[in-house]
Symmetry: C4
Subunit: 290 residues, 4 copies
């Protein structure tokens, strides 16, 4: 039977953990759905804002607050903006895997998914000279076979599931495991800010103040239960000046809390791995079972 | 002619009633629409958060404030998470019927609907050892034949209609009746919080503060007319830390109001039944009548 | 060439006018789109809330503040709830035309539209004993032939256009005219509150405070230009307790402003007619003209 | 490789620039999608509000604050409302190009797009007696061939891209260039206010206070990085009384900032042209490249 993830011990007497993560989707967000979006010069420029303007601004911001973070990068973004991705790594941040063209893996066979995973790995290794240890499924669509594919490739952790606010060891067929650092839709800037005609959103765009209210409340909530707060921001969205200013207020606040361990995803995952937790199994639901 | 539900007397000199209800849809919310959603590991984990994390958190919260509540549970949720559902019952809360796989009953024949009702009843009885007395239609889609099916199965009450803020005896063909405890869309957390790609929502996710403002205002409104405030929350949504904190503020407030009877749905329904009200008929509209 | 509507003089030295109007759509809102919605017992109960609960509550509210208003009523609502509609009229409010089954007139021929107009007229006359003088197109979809059909039937005014905040005489082929009292989407409660699955809305439901902020700001704006503030509320939506409380705050405020003439639509229309304004022509756009 | 736009020097020791722009779409917004919308009298009146009421109100507002601005005008709007467009020009504001019938250029061939550009140019020249120097793509859908078409026709600037908050010289095949003044979705009133059934929007309409909060925060953000704040408003939306009042508050604030150069788009573009910047190339993404 599926059981809940248990609270974990945090290092240095901390009571909770936090990581500000950034998905550098850039053009891939649209191209992974249809490469025909490449014809739309304005839509492409909207996405290019991420690596061109958003990432440098966010790097400055993280530097000012001495925060180490994790950037999930589709392979195509690394190919198209190698200097940008190297600048992230050079600033001491983690580069993690986010597909090649931000492909939805939903419904893909293991073989098809493996091809994309390898293409993304190659791109990131070629550009940064380092093999990533973390993965986040594009559109947060993990298949039941995905954890095994990640373990095959030596990944330490995944960050695509939503069933806990504590990280855990995710059992793979009871034989192996991978660290899972869970996320959720409310801790994502896409729902608050993203409008791209003929692609995403109903048209509504929220105020940074509203987004910060949701994220700030959830930070306090997750801290109160000793969990791991993982915020997902996209440089093409949250790199805009006013959103970055409001995000900075939140980062300043979180980074000044003595009981919170603010670090990168790989540091969290390594810590979890070191706890030698009993892996947790998640059963695929089958309504014909009963 | 259809006439409005009249205000009712509340016990112990109370001026209004209130119940915080929880729909433990879990995976069924998606599987009842298409079992293919079972392939989506992340989406399933988003739903599993309800029974795994949300329910225990909500049970603690209700315990802290000494509040008895009602949980509407699809049969499949009881089959998949029997310990969770038993823990709810063991804490003194009511388990009520919410379909088997959260199936929309819209357009089903009476026979088809009866099969689902019985399957759900069997699941809840098997898991909890008790036959539920209350029903809420999945997606709040009641058919005109549904009340008769519920009466056939000995249900005391239904909670799926929206034409009043006072409970009433709903006449079934003028011969029998069932207690109806009405609800409404604005007193539901789904509209405020639920985003599941390729399933539900336009993408927008609201702040718990906004949800609490709507619910708090409506509580005062319903109290002022002596009605019955029924809030519907989903553990996979409102079980998230910050939402639970804000919900707790509302529960604390409501539970501290001397003129409000805060209790379970079955207690409210039993009280209504004891009033021996004249059953109220609702005429099916037929625009060809005139 | 189409020219703007000019500001008008208001009686008694008032600087602006205001009317709180109510569209008693009830079941027709759905049935006019498809009569199959009649099978949905919950959805029908959601609409029945309007005449059963919302209208009496609003009548009390208007009475408390001594405000005379206008209710736009589809013929089918009058047929199904004759006592409710007579109670509105008996309280001194105006009953105006709003289609028979809230049919969208978009794309209908003049003959088809005429049939519906007559059916609605008959229903209202039969139920109230009075012939309505005002019309509002269901879904605010006026056809270019509609004003002529209304003039043929002796209507004094229409309230379905959005090109001004001052009422005007709308020229009909340069020979006749009808008073137009313009409205707009932002002064409607549907956009803020209406969620009916498989029928209307993206799922989002707003707080009454937000709705009141929009309406209150626009009241001040329209007052500042000497216009006519027309708010459109639906009893099945704004009749809910908290929404009615917030609406009452606005009505209390508006009714206490000495420089604002708060009255019914027919009173406003009669005043406009008495000004003997030069009718204003609106040209149908034809992009092939140039 | 595509590189980011660099900050620019502003004249008179200013630290940032700002322009309040207005897209006078009027009926074209709908007709460009389908001329059948011309049959919808109410929808057309909603759009006519822009030139008839919104534009004069905005002209007054700009005059009160001594602000010079830019109005992007589809050719059809100029044909249908020549006096309105001439009044804008006579007040000293810039008239710029915005298609003929607000056609989406997405997927059009260069030849098809050229025909529309020329038709729009002819209309504006005929009506105002002046050839426009600026262009904004309808729906902000620029094609990769569009900048060349604009350069062929002698345009000084375009304002349709989203990859920067600093204006730049956009290289055209490395041989020519056009000034680009970038914009973005969050600085547009359409997303906050526009609801037109069967055409645009999910139904939600926001409060002017919320829109002003987003725009005010982004103004501060762009000022802090020395960029160019370009707000896009539509007279049929932001010309409504309360929205105009709230917009006026923002204009008053921005116009009173000593370090901000508030002017028209053509003035900004001329300044940028005078800086003799190295043109910036934007590479069309091609995921098959790697």
């Amino acid at each position: 039977m599926t059981t809940p993830a248990a609270p974990v011990q945090w290092p240095h007497g901390k009571k909770a953990a936090a990581c500000f993560t950034f998905d550098v989707d850039a053009e891939s967000a649209l191209l992974g759905v249809s490469t025909q979006h490449a014809d739309r010069m304005t839509a492409m420029s909207h996405q290019a804002y991420g690596p061109l303007v958003g990432v440098p601004r966010i790097l400055d911001l993280l530097h000012r607050h001495d925060v180490t973070s994790t950037f999930f990068v589709p392979g195509y973004t690394a190919h198209r903006y190698p200097d940008v991705i190297r600048a992230i790594a050079d600033a001491g941040h983690e580069i993690a895997h986010h597909g090649y063209l931000h492909e939805s893996m939903a419904g893909l066979t293991a073989k098809e998914e493996a091809t994309i995973l390898d293409r993304g790995l190659d791109a990131l290794e070629t550009v940064t000279g380092q093999r990533p240890v973390g993965y986040r499924a594009p559109m947060w669509e993990l298949n039941w076979h995905s954890p095994g594919l990640l373990a095959d490739r030596g990944f330490l952790y995944d960050s695509s599931l939503m069933d806990a606010e504590h990280p855990y060891e995710l059992s793979i067929s009871g034989k192996r495991s991978i660290v899972e650092i869970p996320i959720q839709w409310a801790l994502d800037d896409w729902e608050q800010y993203c409008y791209i005609p003929d692609f995403s959103g109903s048209g509504l765009i929220e105020s940074p103040r509203k987004a910060a209210e949701i994220w700030g409340l959830e930070f306090e909530g997750i801290r109160s239960v000793g969990g791991c707060f993982v915020l997902t921001n996209h440089p093409f969205l949250s790199g805009r000046p006013s959103r970055a200013l409001v995000l900075e207020e939140l980062i300043r606040y979180v980074s000044s809390q003595d009981d919170v361990w603010l670090t990168s995803m790989s540091a969290i995952a390594s810590h979890i791995r070191g706890l030698v937790l009993t892996p947790r199994s998640i059963e695929r639901p089958d309504p014909n079972d009963f």
